[in-house]
Structure formats: C-alpha cells, structure tokens
C-alpha cells in the first residue's frame, strides 16, 4: 500500500505531472528496468525479508477484509444462543463465543474494523499534522512558536488516558475512536513535516518557484510536499499499526467499539471469562491484533531503510 502511495518524484517531468501514474506503478512492480528513484526504493525494499513478510501479511488482511463474505461460513453478528460458547471444531474453526457466534467469522470481519480505524485515523492525523507542520515550517516566527507550543500541550497528555477522557466526552463508538486517534496522533506528523520544510525551504528550486510567481499554497503542495514526504510515509505506515493497537486497547477497556461490532479488542474482553476452558476465544483475536501491528511495523522499518539507506 504505502509503496504506491509514496510520492517520491519518480523520474518526474519538469511539470511534475507525470511519474506518479502508470509509470510509477510499473516501476514499483519491477516492469520498468530503467533506474527510477521509486524503482530503487522498491529494489531495496524487496531485499528486506521482514518488510516483505509484513507486506504479505497486510496484503492477506486487505484481501480477507475485502472478501470476508466469501471466505467465512456464517454471519459474524448472528447469535446462536442454543450453541453457546464452544471450542474449535470442524464447523467452527476457531470455536464460538458466549452468544454462539462463529469466532473465525468475527476475526475475519474484524480485519475490516481494524483496517478502517487505522486508515481513517491516519487520514485525520495526516491532514492536521501536514497543515500544522506546513504553517509552522513555512511561515516561521510567532506562528511557528505558537503552533509548536500547542503541539507540546498535546504531547503532554498520556495517550491512552487522554483518549479515554475524549471518548467519554464525545460518546462511545467506533467513529469516536477514529476521530480521537486522529486528534491525538497528528503531532509527530507536524514535527516531521516542519523539520523537512525547514531543510528545503532555502533551496534553489523553491526560490525559483517563488520567482516565477507561485503562490505559497502551490509551493507547499506542489514543490515541498513531494520532497519532504519520505519520513512522513515511514511514520504513517507505523502509525496505522499503532492505531490498530490503540483501538484494540480502547475496545478492550470498554470505551471503543460497541457490541455487536466484531472488533478484536472487544472479543478479547469477552473471551477473558472463558480463558481456562476455551482459551481460543481470547487468543485468536489477540493473535490477529499482534500480527497486524507487527506487519505494519516491519513494513515501516523496511520503508525507512529503503527510502534512506544512509540511516541503516
């Protein structure tokens, strides 16, 4: 996912238009043999085994989320109270929960919930972070000082505790979790983008863009963003994993997703009473969280090494 999202100017023409479309995709898939920057990144990424494993797990999960109705055999929210909680069996691979719902189906559908939370929270955090970082880095001065102090205040809250407070205020539910994770997660994006902008602000091509009369917004979006985005892409990949983890923790504590949403954290909380008799009820969704988070962390690490080989 993040590889094609990556806006590294891959052999881009002077207008900056070409290079993101089919050509970049082709390079990413190794179809274009000529050396482009994106192709180099992909070549380095490909040699990192852990990163490939991470990308594989994420790909499997995206597929599972997309094809959930095709690869499961029962509805994740249909109760079967005559059945009740059971261990793994041939009809119910991961067993059934307290209400007789198929845990395998709930884990597969849970991928939809987790990916939705991770990606939407990323979008919110990214938008706020990039705007704050751009304003602070580009204009500097008093605005910079003010925005960075606000960033400090937000960083002063212990994350989970702040999320709990905000969710209680706004009202429980999955949408609230997405909003809160975005609202509490933008600070590193702002800092990363700000420092990238500070580095490239004085370079010639920015001066050239200004000389030909580009507006501030155009300079930031068309000239600075593509060249300052690398650390943001790396952190963004890891952010999705962190968001999945935080959503699971909040759902586990009872302030996240609500019944009957098949959220992994909620399933762990429900499984804890059956830990001694049916441990799978807790550990199947637990393993799903673990694999997802690890996949995104591996992918982020791989991207960092591939984008900037000097950092290794």
């Amino acid at each position: 996912m993040a590889v094609t999202d990556d806006r590294v100017p891959a052999g881009s023409s002077p207008t900056g238009e070409a290079g993101y479309g089919p050509a970049a995709l082709a390079a990413a898939e190794g179809l274009a043999p000529e050396s482009s920057q994106l192709g180099d990144v992909w070549r380095r990424f490909r040699h990192n085994r852990l990163a490939l494993v991470g990308m594989g797990v994420v790909a499997v999960e995206v597929l599972a989320a997309a094809l959930a109705p095709l690869i499961t055999f029962s509805n994740p929210t249909t109760n079967n109270t005559t059945l009740g909680p059971t261990g793994p069996s041939l009809t119910h691979w991961f067993g059934t929960d307290l209400l007789g719902r198929d845990i395998y189906a709930r884990v597969v559908y849970g991928a939809r919930v987790s990916l939705k939370v991770g990606i939407l929270a990323l979008v919110i955090a990214l938008v706020i972070g990039l705007v704050v970082g751009a304003l602070a880095g580009f204009y500097g001065g008093v605005l910079d000082g003010l925005l960075m102090r606000i960033t400090d205040v937000f960083l002063a809250f212990p994350y989970i505790v702040a999320a709990i407070v905000l969710i209680v205020v706004i009202g429980r539910g999955l949408n609230t979790v997405i909003l809160v994770l975005g609202l509490l997660g933008w600070m590193p994006f702002a800092r990363l983008f700000r420092s990238s902008i500070l580095q490239i602000k004085e370079l010639e091509y920015i001066e050239a863009a200004r000389a030909v009369g580009c507006s501030d917004a155009r300079i930031i979006v068309r000239h600075m963003l593509p060249n300052a985005i690398q650390p943001v892409v790396v952190y963004g990949t890891i952010f999705v994993g962190t968001a999945v983890l935080s959503e699971a923790a909040l759902s586990f504590l009872g302030v996240g997703a609500l019944e009957p949403t098949p959220a992994w954290g909620l399933m762990v909380a429900q499984g804890k009473s059956f830990m001694s008799t049916i441990p799978g009820m807790l550990f199947f969704p637990g393993a799903a969280i673990f694999l997802t988070v690890m996949a995104f962390v591996f992918m982020g690490d791989g991207l960092r090494d591939a984008l900037d080989p000097k950092l290794r």
Binding site: V153, A156, L166, L253, V255, G265, S276, I289
Partner: protein, 332 residues
C-alpha cells in the same frame, strides 16, 4: 543555565493550566451528571434532582464552577466522586500506593532487562543473542499489553493448575493479594502477585530501552576513547562497562524519563487485566461509569506528574552531557 531553568519551568504552567481547562471543559459538556449520580434510574424524582444539583453545585454558571474547581485544586481538594460516595482524595490515598509500587518495579525490571539485553546485543553483534533481542523487542512492541497479560495468566496461572503442578509453579493472577509491603519491597509471598503485573507493565518500555541501549552502545564502541582503553590494556569487561556503558547511558536515561507516558498508558490496561487496585484501573472503571470527578482528578494528577518529570529529564541533560549548552535562541 539559571535563566534556562527558569524559562523551562515557567513553560510548565501554561501546559498544566491548559490541560486542566481542557479536561474541565470536556466534562462540562458531558451528558447529565444528575442521572449518573442517581445511579442510572429511569426517572429521577424532582426532590432528588434538586438535592443532587445543590450538593454538587451543578446549577451555577460554568465559569463559577470552573473557578471553584481551580480553587479547590490549588488547595489539593480533588472533589467528590459521583458514584462511590467518597472523595477523590480518599480514592487516591487508597490507589496511589498500589500504582506506585507496581510502577517502581516495572521501571526496575525495565532498566535491568532492557540495558542488559541491549549491551549483550551490541557486544555480540549479529550473534544469535543479537537476533533474539531484535526479534523479541519487535514482538513485544506489537503484542497488545492486555494480550501479553492474559498470556502470562494462562501460562503461569491456569496451565500449572491444569497440569496439577505443585504450588511452587502456580502464580496467582488476579488482584494484589495480601498487600504486605515494606515501603515498596514485597514481603512474604507478595512477590508472586507482583511479578507478572510488573513484567507486563514493563514490557513495551523494556523493548524500547533495549533497542536504544543497543544502538547507542554500537555508536559508542566506535569512539576513539574505546580504542584508547583497549590499547592501554584494560580487560574487555572493564572497557564495556566503565567506558562504553557509562557513555551510552545518556540517551537511555532520557528515554526512561520520557517513556513515562507509555508507562502510564500501559498501567491503565495492565491494572485492569490483573485487577490491580491502582489509579489506572480506577480511571478505566470511572470512565466507563461516567464518574467525571474521578477521571478528571486522577488524570489531572497524572498530567502534572508527567509534565514535571519531563522538566526534570530535560534539565538533567545538562548534567549528564556537559557538551549541551542552553543558549538564548538555540534553547528549543
């Protein structure tokens, strides 16, 4: 230096005031506290409603309530719980020792295990132990704290029972147990109740400390003074411990201080998983039951503690690393 300390310390005030104001404003707009206080009954009678409103001063304009809250806060009064029929100060007196004891042991484990693993991984780079450290630190960061807690409970609490192992192998996995302490040192078999909650709480930070120690150790081992130490004939252990570790510790010490936010967040989850009667599980419970004064009071306290410790860590840079100067413009 003195000017820097003063400016840095003054910065704490807006952060704390901002945090308290945000928290208070948040709870001002949350639902109808009368129903929460009355215990969620459908219809609260008019007389009960009036009594509750009078007792908690809910009919006053919000700025008066805010002023009152700040006034009481300054005098160290955190208000009354909506649900528990006692003051937040009472709750705090009961919860804080349990939380502090758990946190102290988590930090001790984090330092011992994290630094040891990091040093071994760096000294024996690319060995099996190094790979093991890298893989296990990644896994620990990715495994949810609550799943790790239940894993400990299952392996050390439930499985030994199922296998009929002797009492030596069985760990109690819920609650604080006999609660016998000398200050923060567990007495009798208290340590059996403490071990796994502390390990769970320490897990994420231990991984971070181990990675940080490994990379700074690798950095330090390339330094000239390490070669000098080897050239003058010191033993390998002396070089690593006296010259290497001492210099590698600067960023690690900082990290341990700054990592407090992770610890506080993990504490909420860990204490819930193990039914540990501390501030973290109290906040989680109060949040679910909408007990605003408890959440507000305990969160405020945590934010203040966090900000103050961050300040101390920032200032300690200068003492650990004399190369750092706090000039006028360069300071942040």
């Amino acid at each position: 230096m003195g000017g820097y300390i003063l400016r840095r310390a003054l910065l704490v005030i807006p952060v704390v005031v901002g945090a308290v104001t945000l928290l208070f404003a948040a709870f001002l707009v949350t639902g109808d506290p009368v129903e929460t206080i009355a215990g969620g009954q459908r219809a609260v009678s008019a007389t009960t409603r009036a009594q509750i409103i009078h007792k908690y001063g809910l009919d006053e304009p919000s700025y008066v309530r805010y002023g009152r809250y700040i006034g009481r806060l300054v005098r160290g009064d955190l208000g009354d719980s909506y649900k528990q029929g006692r003051s937040v100060n009472d709750i705090l007196r009961q919860d804080a020792p349990a939380s502090l004891r758990l946190a102290i042991w988590a930090i001790i484990l984090e330092i011992l295990i994290g630094i040891a693993a990091g040093v071994i991984a760096a000294v024996r780079r690319y060995s099996f132990l190094d790979a093991l450290t890298t893989v296990s630190t990644t896994m620990v960061v990715a495994i949810p704290v609550f799943v790790l807690g239940y894993l400990f409970q299952y392996v050390f609490g439930i499985l030994p029972n199922k296998q009929n192992l002797g009492s030596w192998a069985r760990f109690p996995v819920q609650g604080i147990g006999p609660n016998h302490w000398f200050l923060f040192i567990p007495l009798g078999n208290q340590w059996k109740f403490l071990l796994f909650p502390a390990l769970t709480l320490a897990s994420v930070s231990t991984a971070v400390v181990a990675r940080m120690t490994r990379s700074t150790m690798l950095e330090v081992m390339k330094a000239d003074y390490m070669r000098t130490a080897a050239a003058k004939g010191l033993t390998k252990n002396a070089i690593i411990l006296k010259h290497g570790l001492k210099n590698a510790m600067i960023p690690v010490v900082t990290l341990i201080g700054l990592d407090l936010a992770t610890l506080i967040g993990s504490a909420v989850i860990t204490e819930t998983v193990f039914n540990w009667p501390g501030m973290g599980s109290e906040i989680a419970r109060a949040a679910v039951s909408l007990d605003a004064p408890v959440v507000l009071g305990l969160t405020t306290l945590l934010v203040v503690a966090y900000v103050v410790i961050n300040l101390l860590v920032d200032l300690s840079y200068a003492f650990f690393d004399p190369r750092i100067r706090y000039g006028g413009a360069e300071a942040r």
